[in-house]
Protein backbone atom coordinates (compact mmCIF):
# COMPACT_ATOMS: atom_id res chain seq x y z
CA UNK A 1 0.00 0.00 0.00
CA UNK A 2 1.11 3.46 -0.76
CA UNK A 3 0.05 4.43 2.68
CA UNK A 4 2.39 1.91 4.23
CA UNK A 5 5.38 3.31 2.47
CA UNK A 6 5.04 6.69 4.01
CA UNK A 7 4.43 5.16 7.32
CA UNK A 8 7.59 3.18 7.39
CA UNK A 9 9.54 6.29 6.82
CA UNK A 10 8.09 7.98 9.75
CA UNK A 11 9.18 7.14 13.19
CA UNK A 12 6.95 5.25 15.49
CA UNK A 13 8.84 6.80 18.35
CA UNK A 14 6.90 8.47 21.07
CA UNK A 15 6.63 12.18 20.99
CA UNK A 16 9.11 13.43 23.53
CA UNK A 17 7.60 16.63 24.62
CA UNK A 18 4.02 17.67 24.35
CA UNK A 19 3.11 21.08 23.23
CA UNK A 20 1.84 22.77 26.28
CA UNK A 21 -0.15 25.23 24.28
CA UNK A 22 -3.55 24.87 25.79
CA UNK A 23 -5.04 28.19 25.16
CA UNK A 24 -6.35 29.10 21.80
CA UNK A 25 -3.77 31.34 20.23
CA UNK A 26 -5.99 34.28 19.57
CA UNK A 27 -5.72 37.11 22.00
CA UNK A 28 -8.42 39.62 22.24
CA UNK A 29 -10.53 41.44 24.70
CA UNK A 30 -14.27 41.65 24.76
CA UNK A 31 -14.02 45.21 23.51
CA UNK A 32 -11.97 44.09 20.58
CA UNK A 33 -14.55 41.43 19.93
CA UNK A 34 -17.23 44.00 19.91
CA UNK A 35 -15.24 46.24 17.68
CA UNK A 36 -14.81 43.39 15.27
CA UNK A 37 -18.47 42.55 15.36
CA UNK A 38 -19.51 46.13 14.89
CA UNK A 39 -17.09 46.72 12.06
CA UNK A 40 -18.17 43.57 10.29
CA UNK A 41 -21.74 44.77 10.20
CA UNK A 42 -22.59 46.83 7.14
CA UNK A 43 -25.32 48.81 8.84
CA UNK A 44 -23.08 49.63 11.75
CA UNK A 45 -20.30 50.62 9.44
CA UNK A 46 -22.64 52.94 7.62
CA UNK A 47 -23.73 54.48 10.91
CA UNK A 48 -20.22 54.98 12.12
CA UNK A 49 -19.07 56.52 8.88
CA UNK A 50 -22.10 58.74 8.67
CA UNK A 51 -21.81 59.85 12.26
CA UNK A 52 -18.10 60.50 11.92
CA UNK A 53 -18.68 62.56 8.82
CA UNK A 54 -21.53 64.51 10.35
CA UNK A 55 -19.69 65.15 13.59
CA UNK A 56 -16.56 66.30 11.82
CA UNK A 57 -18.61 68.45 9.46
CA UNK A 58 -20.46 70.01 12.34
CA UNK A 59 -17.26 70.67 14.23
CA UNK A 60 -15.69 72.23 11.19
CA UNK A 61 -18.74 74.39 10.50
CA UNK A 62 -16.82 77.63 11.32
CA UNK A 63 -14.63 76.93 8.29
CA UNK A 64 -17.60 77.72 6.10
CA UNK A 65 -17.17 81.02 4.26
CA UNK A 66 -20.65 82.05 5.36
CA UNK A 67 -21.89 83.46 8.60
CA UNK A 68 -24.84 81.41 9.78
CA UNK A 69 -26.58 84.44 11.25
CA UNK A 70 -25.68 87.31 8.93
CA UNK A 71 -28.77 88.48 7.09
CA UNK A 72 -28.35 89.34 3.46
CA UNK A 73 -31.67 90.17 1.89
CA UNK A 74 -30.17 90.32 -1.56
CA UNK A 75 -29.35 86.66 -1.33
CA UNK A 76 -32.80 85.66 -0.14
CA UNK A 77 -34.09 82.22 -1.16
CA UNK A 78 -31.39 81.39 -3.61
CA UNK A 79 -31.73 77.98 -5.17
CA UNK A 80 -29.09 75.33 -5.04
CA UNK A 81 -25.94 76.39 -6.80
CA UNK A 82 -22.23 75.96 -6.63
CA UNK A 83 -22.04 79.03 -4.45
CA UNK A 84 -24.71 77.93 -2.05
CA UNK A 85 -24.82 74.17 -2.18
CA UNK A 86 -28.17 73.96 -0.49
CA UNK A 87 -29.23 77.42 -1.45
CA UNK A 88 -30.10 80.12 1.04
CA UNK A 89 -33.01 80.64 3.39
CA UNK A 90 -35.48 83.46 3.60
CA UNK A 91 -32.87 85.76 5.16
CA UNK A 92 -30.30 84.97 2.52
CA UNK A 93 -28.19 82.84 4.87
CA UNK A 94 -26.33 79.89 3.41
CA UNK A 95 -28.50 76.92 4.23
CA UNK A 96 -25.81 74.30 4.43
CA UNK A 97 -23.85 76.42 6.87
CA UNK A 98 -26.95 76.88 8.95
CA UNK A 99 -27.66 73.18 8.85
CA UNK A 100 -24.15 72.48 10.10
CA UNK A 101 -24.53 74.96 12.93
CA UNK A 102 -27.96 73.50 13.57
CA UNK A 103 -26.38 70.09 13.75
CA UNK A 104 -24.11 71.35 16.50
CA UNK A 105 -27.11 72.25 18.57
CA UNK A 106 -29.02 69.06 17.81
CA UNK A 107 -26.05 66.85 18.53
CA UNK A 108 -25.10 68.85 21.57
CA UNK A 109 -28.58 68.46 22.96
CA UNK A 110 -28.55 64.79 22.04
CA UNK A 111 -25.21 64.07 23.63
CA UNK A 112 -25.64 66.23 26.70
CA UNK A 113 -29.02 64.91 27.62
CA UNK A 114 -27.80 61.40 26.91
CA UNK A 115 -24.85 61.92 29.24
CA UNK A 116 -26.99 63.30 32.01
CA UNK A 117 -29.59 60.62 31.44
CA UNK A 118 -27.08 57.83 31.47
CA UNK A 119 -25.18 59.10 34.47
CA UNK A 120 -28.25 59.74 36.60
CA UNK A 121 -29.98 56.62 35.39
CA UNK A 122 -26.97 54.43 35.98
CA UNK A 123 -26.28 55.84 39.41
CA UNK A 124 -29.84 55.38 40.53
CA UNK A 125 -30.15 51.99 38.87
CA UNK A 126 -26.94 50.60 40.29
CA UNK A 127 -27.58 52.04 43.72
CA UNK A 128 -31.12 50.79 43.83
CA UNK A 129 -30.30 47.38 42.46
CA UNK A 130 -27.28 46.90 44.64
CA UNK A 131 -28.76 48.06 47.90
CA UNK A 132 -32.09 46.36 47.30
CA UNK A 133 -34.78 46.19 49.95
CA UNK A 134 -36.73 49.28 50.94
CA UNK A 135 -34.43 51.74 49.23
CA UNK A 136 -34.87 49.83 46.03
CA UNK A 137 -38.60 49.73 46.41
CA UNK A 138 -38.88 53.44 46.97
CA UNK A 139 -36.50 54.36 44.20
CA UNK A 140 -38.22 52.04 41.78
CA UNK A 141 -41.68 53.36 42.57
CA UNK A 142 -40.25 56.77 41.90
CA UNK A 143 -38.84 55.52 38.62
CA UNK A 144 -42.13 53.88 37.74
CA UNK A 145 -43.88 57.16 38.08
CA UNK A 146 -41.47 58.80 35.73
CA UNK A 147 -42.06 55.99 33.30
CA UNK A 148 -45.81 56.34 33.59
CA UNK A 149 -45.80 60.07 33.09
CA UNK A 150 -46.95 61.30 29.72
CA UNK A 151 -43.46 62.63 29.25
CA UNK A 152 -43.76 64.38 25.93
CA UNK A 153 -46.69 66.34 27.22
CA UNK A 154 -44.92 67.35 30.38
CA UNK A 155 -41.85 68.24 28.38
CA UNK A 156 -43.98 70.60 26.36
CA UNK A 157 -45.59 72.03 29.46
CA UNK A 158 -42.29 72.43 31.26
CA UNK A 159 -40.53 73.81 28.26
CA UNK A 160 -43.29 76.29 27.70
CA UNK A 161 -43.29 77.28 31.34
CA UNK A 162 -39.56 77.51 31.84
CA UNK A 163 -37.55 79.90 29.80
CA UNK A 164 -36.95 78.06 26.55
CA UNK A 165 -33.38 77.56 25.46
CA UNK A 166 -30.60 75.06 25.20
CA UNK A 167 -30.20 74.42 28.91
CA UNK A 168 -33.91 74.04 29.50
CA UNK A 169 -34.11 71.67 26.59
CA UNK A 170 -31.34 69.47 27.90
CA UNK A 171 -32.73 69.59 31.39
CA UNK A 172 -36.23 68.68 30.35
CA UNK A 173 -35.10 65.91 28.04
CA UNK A 174 -32.92 64.38 30.72
CA UNK A 175 -35.57 64.73 33.34
CA UNK A 176 -37.88 62.43 31.47
CA UNK A 177 -35.46 59.87 30.11
CA UNK A 178 -33.32 58.78 33.02
CA UNK A 179 -35.98 56.44 34.33
CA UNK A 180 -35.63 54.10 31.39
CA UNK A 181 -31.89 53.83 31.96
CA UNK A 182 -32.38 53.37 35.68
CA UNK A 183 -34.72 50.48 35.01
CA UNK A 184 -32.29 48.77 32.71
CA UNK A 185 -29.27 49.26 34.91
CA UNK A 186 -31.16 48.19 37.99
CA UNK A 187 -32.25 44.95 36.36
CA UNK A 188 -28.73 44.34 35.17
CA UNK A 189 -27.27 45.16 38.55
CA UNK A 190 -29.70 42.83 40.25
CA UNK A 191 -28.66 40.02 37.98
CA UNK A 192 -24.96 40.79 38.15
CA UNK A 193 -24.91 41.07 41.92
CA UNK A 194 -26.29 37.56 42.23
CA UNK A 195 -23.67 36.11 39.93
CA UNK A 196 -21.14 33.75 41.32
CA UNK A 197 -18.18 35.98 40.62
CA UNK A 198 -19.64 38.75 42.71
CA UNK A 199 -20.37 36.32 45.50
CA UNK A 200 -16.83 35.06 45.19
CA UNK A 201 -15.45 38.57 45.45
CA UNK A 202 -17.63 39.30 48.43
CA UNK A 203 -16.38 36.13 49.96
CA UNK A 204 -12.86 37.39 49.48
CA UNK A 205 -13.79 40.21 51.81
CA UNK A 206 -14.32 42.92 49.22
CA UNK A 207 -16.38 45.93 50.19
CA UNK A 208 -19.42 47.19 48.35
CA UNK A 209 -17.58 50.01 46.67
CA UNK A 210 -14.98 47.72 45.23
CA UNK A 211 -17.63 45.35 44.00
CA UNK A 212 -19.68 48.08 42.44
CA UNK A 213 -16.76 49.70 40.69
CA UNK A 214 -14.76 46.66 39.70
CA UNK A 215 -17.42 44.15 38.97
CA UNK A 216 -20.88 45.57 38.60
CA UNK A 217 -20.26 48.66 36.54
CA UNK A 218 -17.96 46.97 34.01
CA UNK A 219 -20.47 44.22 33.59
CA UNK A 220 -23.46 46.43 33.02
CA UNK A 221 -21.55 48.69 30.70
CA UNK A 222 -22.85 46.87 27.65
CA UNK A 223 -26.50 47.69 28.21
CA UNK A 224 -25.54 51.18 29.29
CA UNK A 225 -23.65 51.81 26.07
CA UNK A 226 -26.62 50.52 24.13
CA UNK A 227 -28.96 52.71 26.12
CA UNK A 228 -26.66 55.65 25.50
CA UNK A 229 -26.71 55.15 21.77
CA UNK A 230 -30.47 54.79 21.64
CA UNK A 231 -30.68 57.68 24.10
CA UNK A 232 -28.92 60.05 21.74
CA UNK A 233 -31.26 59.01 18.97
CA UNK A 234 -34.24 59.56 21.17
CA UNK A 235 -33.03 62.91 22.46
CA UNK A 236 -32.43 64.20 18.96
CA UNK A 237 -35.91 63.15 17.91
CA UNK A 238 -37.47 64.69 20.99
CA UNK A 239 -35.49 67.86 20.53
CA UNK A 240 -36.73 68.14 16.99
CA UNK A 241 -40.32 67.66 18.13
CA UNK A 242 -40.01 70.31 20.80
CA UNK A 243 -38.23 72.70 18.49
CA UNK A 244 -40.86 72.05 15.91
CA UNK A 245 -43.43 73.21 18.41
CA UNK A 246 -41.31 76.32 18.90
CA UNK A 247 -40.02 75.29 22.29
CA UNK A 248 -36.42 74.80 21.35
CA UNK A 249 -33.43 77.06 21.09
CA UNK A 250 -33.97 80.70 20.37
CA UNK A 251 -33.11 82.65 17.27
CA UNK A 252 -30.81 83.27 15.58
CA UNK A 253 -29.45 79.95 16.77
CA UNK A 254 -31.13 77.05 15.09
CA UNK A 255 -31.29 73.35 15.54
CA UNK A 256 -32.45 70.92 12.91
CA UNK A 257 -35.84 70.84 14.57
CA UNK A 258 -36.26 74.58 14.62
CA UNK A 259 -35.06 74.76 11.03
CA UNK A 260 -37.91 72.45 10.19
CA UNK A 261 -40.24 74.71 12.03
CA UNK A 262 -39.10 77.75 10.08
CA UNK A 263 -39.21 75.77 6.86
CA UNK A 264 -42.89 75.04 7.42
CA UNK A 265 -44.00 78.41 6.11
CA UNK A 266 -42.23 77.77 2.86
CA UNK A 267 -42.93 74.13 2.51
CA UNK A 268 -45.05 74.44 -0.59
CA UNK A 269 -42.82 76.89 -2.39
CA UNK A 270 -39.42 75.77 -1.17
CA UNK A 271 -39.60 72.21 0.11
CA UNK A 272 -35.82 72.13 -0.07
CA UNK A 273 -35.72 73.99 3.24
CA UNK A 274 -37.60 71.20 4.97
CA UNK A 275 -35.84 68.33 3.24
CA UNK A 276 -32.27 69.00 4.33
CA UNK A 277 -32.74 69.20 8.11
CA UNK A 278 -35.33 66.43 8.01
CA UNK A 279 -33.01 64.09 6.20
CA UNK A 280 -30.17 65.00 8.53
CA UNK A 281 -32.30 64.25 11.57
CA UNK A 282 -33.47 61.01 10.08
CA UNK A 283 -30.04 59.79 9.11
CA UNK A 284 -28.47 60.76 12.41
CA UNK A 285 -31.21 59.15 14.44
CA UNK A 286 -31.12 56.14 12.18
CA UNK A 287 -27.39 55.82 12.66
CA UNK A 288 -27.64 55.94 16.42
CA UNK A 289 -30.47 53.46 16.38
CA UNK A 290 -28.56 51.08 14.14
CA UNK A 291 -25.46 51.46 16.22
CA UNK A 292 -27.40 50.80 19.39
CA UNK A 293 -28.88 47.66 17.95
CA UNK A 294 -25.63 46.34 16.64
CA UNK A 295 -24.03 47.04 20.00
CA UNK A 296 -26.85 45.23 21.67
CA UNK A 297 -26.16 42.09 19.66
CA UNK A 298 -22.46 42.54 20.13
CA UNK A 299 -22.87 42.71 23.88
CA UNK A 300 -25.20 39.79 24.05
CA UNK A 301 -23.61 37.06 26.12
CA UNK A 302 -21.97 34.59 23.84
CA UNK A 303 -21.46 30.99 24.71
CA UNK A 304 -17.75 30.60 24.86
CA UNK A 305 -16.62 27.05 24.96
Amino acid sequence: MEDKKIITEISFQRLEEKETEQVADYRHSIWKDIRKEVLSNKAALFSIIFLTVIIIAVLLAPLSPYDPYEIDISQKMQGMSAKHIFGTDDYGRDYLTRALYGGRVSLLVGFCSMFITVIIGTLIGVFSGYIGGKVDMILMRFTDIFLALPSMLLMIVLNAILQPGLVTLIFVLSLFSWAQVARITRAETMSVKERDYVIATKNLGAGSFRIAVKHIIPNILGPVVVAASLGVANAILMESSLSFLGLGVQIPVASWGSMLQSAQTHILDTPRLAILPGVLIMLTVLSFNLLGDVLRTAFEPKIVK
Binding site: R195, A200, K305
Partner: protein, 335 residues
Protein backbone atom coordinates in the same frame (compact mmCIF):
# COMPACT_ATOMS: atom_id res chain seq x y z
CA UNK B 1 -13.66 7.88 70.00
CA UNK B 2 -10.35 9.01 71.36
CA UNK B 3 -9.33 9.73 67.81
CA UNK B 4 -12.00 12.34 67.25
CA UNK B 5 -11.33 14.02 70.53
CA UNK B 6 -7.76 14.68 69.61
CA UNK B 7 -8.90 16.14 66.32
CA UNK B 8 -9.82 19.78 66.33
CA UNK B 9 -13.22 20.69 65.11
CA UNK B 10 -12.86 23.15 62.24
CA UNK B 11 -16.49 23.66 61.43
CA UNK B 12 -19.31 22.78 63.74
CA UNK B 13 -22.84 22.91 62.44
CA UNK B 14 -25.65 22.57 64.92
CA UNK B 15 -29.29 22.33 63.93
CA UNK B 16 -28.74 24.65 61.02
CA UNK B 17 -31.89 25.92 59.36
CA UNK B 18 -32.27 28.00 56.27
CA UNK B 19 -35.70 28.98 55.01
CA UNK B 20 -36.30 31.04 51.92
CA UNK B 21 -39.27 33.31 52.02
CA UNK B 22 -41.11 32.79 48.79
CA UNK B 23 -44.39 34.52 49.41
CA UNK B 24 -46.21 36.09 52.27
CA UNK B 25 -46.24 33.60 55.10
CA UNK B 26 -44.77 30.86 52.96
CA UNK B 27 -41.29 29.59 53.23
CA UNK B 28 -39.21 27.03 51.48
CA UNK B 29 -37.30 24.95 53.94
CA UNK B 30 -34.16 24.48 51.94
CA UNK B 31 -32.12 23.31 54.92
CA UNK B 32 -33.92 22.07 57.99
CA UNK B 33 -32.16 21.08 61.15
CA UNK B 34 -28.85 19.83 59.87
CA UNK B 35 -25.94 19.10 62.17
CA UNK B 36 -22.42 17.87 61.50
CA UNK B 37 -18.86 18.58 62.42
CA UNK B 38 -15.85 18.75 60.17
CA UNK B 39 -12.46 18.26 61.81
CA UNK B 40 -9.26 19.84 60.73
CA UNK B 41 -7.74 18.34 57.62
CA UNK B 42 -10.83 16.35 56.89
CA UNK B 43 -12.98 16.34 53.79
CA UNK B 44 -16.64 16.02 54.23
CA UNK B 45 -18.84 15.22 51.27
CA UNK B 46 -22.51 15.99 50.94
CA UNK B 47 -24.61 14.21 48.35
CA UNK B 48 -28.21 14.47 47.47
CA UNK B 49 -30.51 15.12 44.62
CA UNK B 50 -30.87 18.44 42.91
CA UNK B 51 -32.68 20.95 45.05
CA UNK B 52 -32.22 19.07 48.31
CA UNK B 53 -30.38 22.01 49.79
CA UNK B 54 -26.71 21.14 49.45
CA UNK B 55 -25.59 24.48 48.09
CA UNK B 56 -27.76 26.34 50.53
CA UNK B 57 -26.34 24.36 53.39
CA UNK B 58 -22.78 25.01 52.32
CA UNK B 59 -23.31 28.69 51.69
CA UNK B 60 -25.02 29.15 55.02
CA UNK B 61 -22.17 27.36 56.73
CA UNK B 62 -19.62 29.79 55.39
CA UNK B 63 -21.77 32.82 56.01
CA UNK B 64 -22.57 33.74 52.45
CA UNK B 65 -26.25 33.29 53.21
CA UNK B 66 -27.83 34.34 56.48
CA UNK B 67 -29.17 31.49 58.55
CA UNK B 68 -32.72 31.00 59.75
CA UNK B 69 -31.84 28.99 62.81
CA UNK B 70 -29.20 26.88 64.49
CA UNK B 71 -25.53 27.66 64.86
CA UNK B 72 -22.38 27.41 62.84
CA UNK B 73 -18.99 27.66 64.54
CA UNK B 74 -15.76 28.04 62.66
CA UNK B 75 -12.88 27.32 64.99
CA UNK B 76 -15.19 28.05 67.87
CA UNK B 77 -16.46 31.37 66.51
CA UNK B 78 -20.07 31.82 65.58
CA UNK B 79 -20.00 32.46 61.85
CA UNK B 80 -23.24 34.37 61.89
CA UNK B 81 -22.43 36.60 64.81
CA UNK B 82 -19.12 38.06 63.80
CA UNK B 83 -18.15 41.68 63.87
CA UNK B 84 -17.17 43.32 60.63
CA UNK B 85 -13.54 42.85 61.43
CA UNK B 86 -13.90 39.23 62.40
CA UNK B 87 -15.88 38.62 59.28
CA UNK B 88 -13.11 40.14 57.21
CA UNK B 89 -10.58 37.80 58.73
CA UNK B 90 -13.01 34.96 58.33
CA UNK B 91 -13.21 35.57 54.58
CA UNK B 92 -9.49 34.98 54.44
CA UNK B 93 -9.81 31.65 56.16
CA UNK B 94 -12.81 30.27 54.35
CA UNK B 95 -13.11 30.15 50.61
CA UNK B 96 -15.46 28.69 48.09
CA UNK B 97 -15.24 27.06 44.68
CA UNK B 98 -18.27 27.35 42.51
CA UNK B 99 -20.18 24.94 40.39
CA UNK B 100 -20.26 26.86 37.15
CA UNK B 101 -16.79 27.86 35.97
CA UNK B 102 -18.39 30.11 33.36
CA UNK B 103 -20.43 32.14 35.80
CA UNK B 104 -17.95 32.36 38.61
CA UNK B 105 -15.32 34.42 36.84
CA UNK B 106 -15.90 38.03 35.95
CA UNK B 107 -15.78 38.10 32.17
CA UNK B 108 -14.35 41.61 32.20
CA UNK B 109 -11.28 40.80 34.21
CA UNK B 110 -7.98 39.37 33.27
CA UNK B 111 -6.82 36.22 34.98
CA UNK B 112 -4.24 38.21 36.87
CA UNK B 113 -6.81 40.59 38.31
CA UNK B 114 -9.05 37.77 39.35
CA UNK B 115 -6.34 36.00 41.27
CA UNK B 116 -4.75 39.15 42.64
CA UNK B 117 -8.01 40.52 43.98
CA UNK B 118 -7.89 38.53 47.20
CA UNK B 119 -4.25 39.41 47.71
CA UNK B 120 -5.05 43.08 47.28
CA UNK B 121 -8.06 43.02 49.55
CA UNK B 122 -6.19 41.30 52.36
CA UNK B 123 -2.93 43.11 51.61
CA UNK B 124 -1.01 39.89 51.46
CA UNK B 125 1.70 41.29 49.28
CA UNK B 126 4.11 44.04 50.21
CA UNK B 127 4.42 45.39 46.71
CA UNK B 128 3.50 44.76 43.12
CA UNK B 129 6.40 42.46 42.59
CA UNK B 130 5.50 40.24 45.44
CA UNK B 131 1.91 40.24 44.32
CA UNK B 132 2.93 39.19 40.87
CA UNK B 133 5.16 36.50 42.20
CA UNK B 134 2.35 35.16 44.29
CA UNK B 135 -0.09 35.19 41.37
CA UNK B 136 2.32 33.28 39.17
CA UNK B 137 2.94 30.84 41.96
CA UNK B 138 -0.75 30.22 42.34
CA UNK B 139 -1.16 29.75 38.62
CA UNK B 140 1.52 27.14 38.59
CA UNK B 141 0.02 25.51 41.63
CA UNK B 142 -3.23 24.90 39.77
CA UNK B 143 -1.50 23.74 36.62
CA UNK B 144 -1.52 26.89 34.58
CA UNK B 145 1.43 29.02 33.56
CA UNK B 146 2.44 32.58 34.27
CA UNK B 147 1.81 33.33 30.67
CA UNK B 148 -1.90 32.82 31.21
CA UNK B 149 -2.09 35.69 33.65
CA UNK B 150 -2.54 38.38 31.05
CA UNK B 151 -5.37 36.68 29.28
CA UNK B 152 -9.08 37.17 29.44
CA UNK B 153 -11.15 34.48 31.02
CA UNK B 154 -13.27 33.80 28.01
CA UNK B 155 -10.25 32.39 26.25
CA UNK B 156 -10.18 29.47 28.63
CA UNK B 157 -11.97 26.18 28.60
CA UNK B 158 -14.17 25.06 31.46
CA UNK B 159 -11.49 23.03 33.16
CA UNK B 160 -9.01 25.86 32.97
CA UNK B 161 -11.54 28.27 34.33
CA UNK B 162 -12.17 26.00 37.24
CA UNK B 163 -8.44 26.02 37.90
CA UNK B 164 -8.50 29.80 37.89
CA UNK B 165 -11.37 29.67 40.36
CA UNK B 166 -9.33 27.42 42.58
CA UNK B 167 -6.35 29.72 42.36
CA UNK B 168 -8.55 32.64 43.37
CA UNK B 169 -9.79 30.72 46.38
CA UNK B 170 -6.27 29.76 47.35
CA UNK B 171 -4.90 33.26 46.91
CA UNK B 172 -5.75 34.20 50.51
CA UNK B 173 -4.28 31.01 52.02
CA UNK B 174 -7.58 29.72 53.29
CA UNK B 175 -7.89 26.99 55.85
CA UNK B 176 -11.27 25.83 54.80
CA UNK B 177 -12.53 25.26 51.30
CA UNK B 178 -16.14 24.79 50.34
CA UNK B 179 -16.43 23.14 46.93
CA UNK B 180 -19.91 23.34 45.48
CA UNK B 181 -20.08 20.65 42.82
CA UNK B 182 -16.88 21.92 41.28
CA UNK B 183 -16.86 19.30 38.58
CA UNK B 184 -20.45 18.74 37.60
CA UNK B 185 -20.37 21.36 34.88
CA UNK B 186 -17.24 19.93 33.35
CA UNK B 187 -16.66 17.35 30.71
CA UNK B 188 -16.03 13.81 31.82
CA UNK B 189 -12.49 13.87 30.62
CA UNK B 190 -11.74 17.08 32.54
CA UNK B 191 -13.42 16.14 35.80
CA UNK B 192 -10.59 13.87 36.85
CA UNK B 193 -8.08 16.70 36.43
CA UNK B 194 -9.95 18.86 38.87
CA UNK B 195 -10.60 16.09 41.36
CA UNK B 196 -6.92 15.17 41.35
CA UNK B 197 -5.91 18.78 41.70
CA UNK B 198 -8.19 19.35 44.66
CA UNK B 199 -6.95 16.25 46.39
CA UNK B 200 -3.37 17.23 45.80
CA UNK B 201 -3.95 20.73 47.12
CA UNK B 202 -5.76 19.52 50.16
CA UNK B 203 -2.83 17.35 51.06
CA UNK B 204 -0.23 20.02 50.34
CA UNK B 205 -1.99 22.87 52.07
CA UNK B 206 -3.62 20.90 54.85
CA UNK B 207 -7.03 22.20 53.86
CA UNK B 208 -10.27 21.23 55.41
CA UNK B 209 -12.93 20.75 52.79
CA UNK B 210 -16.64 20.58 52.43
CA UNK B 211 -17.25 18.93 49.09
CA UNK B 212 -20.66 18.84 47.50
CA UNK B 213 -21.60 16.67 44.59
CA UNK B 214 -24.53 14.79 43.33
CA UNK B 215 -22.22 12.18 41.90
CA UNK B 216 -21.63 9.65 44.67
CA UNK B 217 -18.62 8.09 43.08
CA UNK B 218 -16.69 11.35 43.14
CA UNK B 219 -17.70 12.11 46.70
CA UNK B 220 -16.64 8.70 47.78
CA UNK B 221 -13.33 9.16 46.07
CA UNK B 222 -12.50 12.42 47.72
CA UNK B 223 -14.18 12.47 51.15
CA UNK B 224 -13.44 11.01 54.53
CA UNK B 225 -16.95 11.45 55.69
CA UNK B 226 -20.22 11.73 53.83
CA UNK B 227 -23.59 13.23 54.58
CA UNK B 228 -26.61 12.31 52.54
CA UNK B 229 -29.26 14.95 52.25
CA UNK B 230 -32.83 14.57 51.22
CA UNK B 231 -35.24 17.48 50.94
CA UNK B 232 -33.40 19.77 53.30
CA UNK B 233 -32.67 17.09 55.87
CA UNK B 234 -29.56 15.14 56.57
CA UNK B 235 -30.70 11.52 56.44
CA UNK B 236 -27.43 9.71 56.90
CA UNK B 237 -23.96 10.65 58.04
CA UNK B 238 -21.01 8.36 58.20
CA UNK B 239 -17.47 7.92 57.10
CA UNK B 240 -17.31 7.11 53.48
CA UNK B 241 -16.25 3.47 53.42
CA UNK B 242 -18.94 2.57 55.86
CA UNK B 243 -21.59 4.43 54.00
CA UNK B 244 -20.87 2.56 50.83
CA UNK B 245 -20.37 -0.83 52.32
CA UNK B 246 -23.27 -0.63 54.71
CA UNK B 247 -25.82 2.01 53.83
CA UNK B 248 -28.57 2.26 56.38
CA UNK B 249 -31.17 4.67 55.17
CA UNK B 250 -33.44 3.38 52.39
CA UNK B 251 -32.77 6.52 50.43
CA UNK B 252 -29.04 6.04 50.59
CA UNK B 253 -29.50 2.49 49.47
CA UNK B 254 -31.55 3.54 46.49
CA UNK B 255 -29.12 6.29 45.67
CA UNK B 256 -26.19 3.95 45.71
CA UNK B 257 -27.81 1.42 43.44
CA UNK B 258 -28.90 4.16 41.05
CA UNK B 259 -25.34 5.25 40.38
CA UNK B 260 -24.34 3.94 37.01
CA UNK B 261 -21.37 1.63 36.96
CA UNK B 262 -19.25 1.59 33.88
CA UNK B 263 -19.11 -2.15 33.76
CA UNK B 264 -21.84 -4.00 31.92
CA UNK B 265 -21.46 -7.25 33.81
CA UNK B 266 -21.76 -5.72 37.26
CA UNK B 267 -24.24 -3.18 36.11
CA UNK B 268 -26.57 -5.71 34.56
CA UNK B 269 -26.36 -8.14 37.40
CA UNK B 270 -26.78 -5.85 40.36
CA UNK B 271 -30.07 -5.38 42.06
CA UNK B 272 -31.24 -1.84 41.64
CA UNK B 273 -33.74 -0.08 43.75
CA UNK B 274 -35.66 2.15 41.43
CA UNK B 275 -37.41 4.84 43.41
CA UNK B 276 -40.94 5.74 42.55
CA UNK B 277 -41.89 9.26 41.70
CA UNK B 278 -40.02 12.52 42.15
CA UNK B 279 -38.63 14.50 45.00
CA UNK B 280 -41.56 16.40 46.52
CA UNK B 281 -41.54 20.16 46.69
CA UNK B 282 -39.67 21.61 49.67
CA UNK B 283 -42.47 24.17 50.07
CA UNK B 284 -44.92 21.51 51.20
CA UNK B 285 -42.77 18.65 52.42
CA UNK B 286 -44.65 15.48 53.42
CA UNK B 287 -45.47 15.11 57.07
CA UNK B 288 -43.37 12.77 59.12
CA UNK B 289 -40.35 11.40 57.38
CA UNK B 290 -39.78 13.36 54.22
CA UNK B 291 -38.83 10.26 52.33
CA UNK B 292 -41.92 8.37 53.36
CA UNK B 293 -43.75 8.86 50.10
CA UNK B 294 -41.07 7.14 48.04
CA UNK B 295 -39.86 4.62 50.60
CA UNK B 296 -40.45 0.90 50.10
CA UNK B 297 -40.19 0.26 53.83
CA UNK B 298 -42.57 2.97 54.82
CA UNK B 299 -44.34 2.32 58.11
CA UNK B 300 -47.25 4.01 59.83
CA UNK B 301 -45.00 5.99 62.10
CA UNK B 302 -42.99 7.32 59.18
CA UNK B 303 -45.96 9.30 57.97
CA UNK B 304 -46.61 10.81 61.34
CA UNK B 305 -43.38 11.46 63.03
CA UNK B 306 -40.18 12.89 61.81
CA UNK B 307 -37.32 10.52 62.57
CA UNK B 308 -34.43 11.95 64.59
CA UNK B 309 -30.81 11.58 63.66
CA UNK B 310 -29.20 8.95 65.80
CA UNK B 311 -26.00 7.03 65.91
CA UNK B 312 -26.80 3.51 64.79
CA UNK B 313 -23.27 2.24 64.64
CA UNK B 314 -20.10 3.96 65.76
CA UNK B 315 -19.74 7.10 63.73
CA UNK B 316 -22.67 6.12 61.56
CA UNK B 317 -25.71 8.26 62.00
CA UNK B 318 -29.04 8.01 60.30
CA UNK B 319 -32.53 9.43 60.62
CA UNK B 320 -34.87 6.56 59.96
CA UNK B 321 -37.56 4.84 62.00
CA UNK B 322 -36.35 1.47 60.75
CA UNK B 323 -33.52 1.68 63.20
CA UNK B 324 -35.57 2.78 66.13
CA UNK B 325 -35.64 -0.66 67.78
CA UNK B 326 -31.89 -0.89 67.80
CA UNK B 327 -31.80 2.19 69.92
CA UNK B 328 -34.75 1.59 72.15
CA UNK B 329 -33.60 3.83 74.93
CA UNK B 330 -33.39 6.86 72.79
CA UNK B 331 -36.58 5.98 71.03
CA UNK B 332 -38.57 5.54 74.22
CA UNK B 333 -37.12 8.66 75.62
CA UNK B 334 -38.24 10.57 72.62
CA UNK B 335 -41.77 9.17 72.65
Amino acid sequence: MSDTIRKQAELEVKNLKKYYKIAKGKSLKAVDDVSFTIYQGETMGIVGESGCGKTTCGKTCIGILPKSGGEVYFRGKDVHAMSRKEKFIFTKDVQMIFQDPYASLDPHQKVYDIIAEGIQIHKLAKDKNEEQKRVFELLEMVGLTAEHASRNVHEFSGGQRQRIGIARALSVNPKFLFCDEPISALDVSIQAQIVNLLMKLQKEQGLTMLFIAHDLSVVKHISDKIGVMYLGKMVELSDSSQLYSNPLHPYTKALLTAVPIADPDISRKRQRIILEGDVPSPVNPPAGCRFSGRCKNCMEICKKEEPKMREVAEGHWTACHLYDSKNEEVYQHEV
